[in-house]
């Protein structure tokens, strides 16, 4: 596979995640599709880090550093996001997005 194929695959993954966020009504599934979109961005970053090879024959580690930071931030985001979802479920007894429309509980 060359760089274009990796970018195409990561674009398709992003499209699937994006469609999932648009289509699904369950807040946890939306959160999972959000993770898919994040991983699609990671894949294209790693593909570019492999594409730019330095003179010494090493891949460009800046791309991999960014992916490393994205993974850690996404982990912290999932921890807090799911805590919010659980307290939302405790307050409104539903995870269906259409029932949670008013800002005031």
């Amino acid at each position: 596979m060359n760089l274009n194929d990796y970018l195409a695959v990561s674009g398709l993954l992003f499209a699937i995640g994006f469609a999932g966020v648009m289509l699904r009504r369950n807040i946890i599934i939306i959160f999972m599709c959000l993770e898919l979109m994040l991983n699609a961005a990671n894949l294209s970053l790693v593909a570019f880090s492999r594409f730019h090879v330095s003179a010494a024959g090493l891949p460009d580690y800046n791309g991999q550093m960014l992916v490393f930071f994205i993974i850690t931030v996404a982990a912290a985001e999932v921890a807090v996001g799911l805590a919010v979802i659980v307290s939302l479920y405790r307050a409104r007894r539903t995870t269906h997005v259409e029932d949670i429309t008013s800002m005031k509980f």
Binding site: I71, T72, A75, A76, V78, A79, L82, A83, V86
Partner: protein, 124 residues
Amino acid sequence: MIKDYLPILIQAVVAIGFAASALVVSIILGKAGKRNPTKDTAYECGMLPEGNAQPRFSVKFYQVAMLFILFDIEIVFMYPWAVVFREFVRAHHPVIFWSMLSFVSILTVGYVYAIKKGALDWKK
């Protein structure tokens, strides 16, 4: 190199194949007995099961899972640090020791907060 990871793929296929084939062989060999209602109820030392099958488990369990993710990141940052530590020490860059010390002390503040707020004691 990528060539070294091929055996891992082979081992994964063999491990999953072994587990699946063990189950298939046990289906073929084991005789399916006739089903009766008592066999189909959940096993609760002989008594009739009461209460719903999935009790609401306490908040502690998923709180532990969340704190696990956050401290798993701390471990993940420690591995590259451990690998390059002695190189940086030989190259007289003291930054590596103090930067990790400050990172871990920031996280220990969160850890102490979690303990003080009773997230990690299971006394009740």
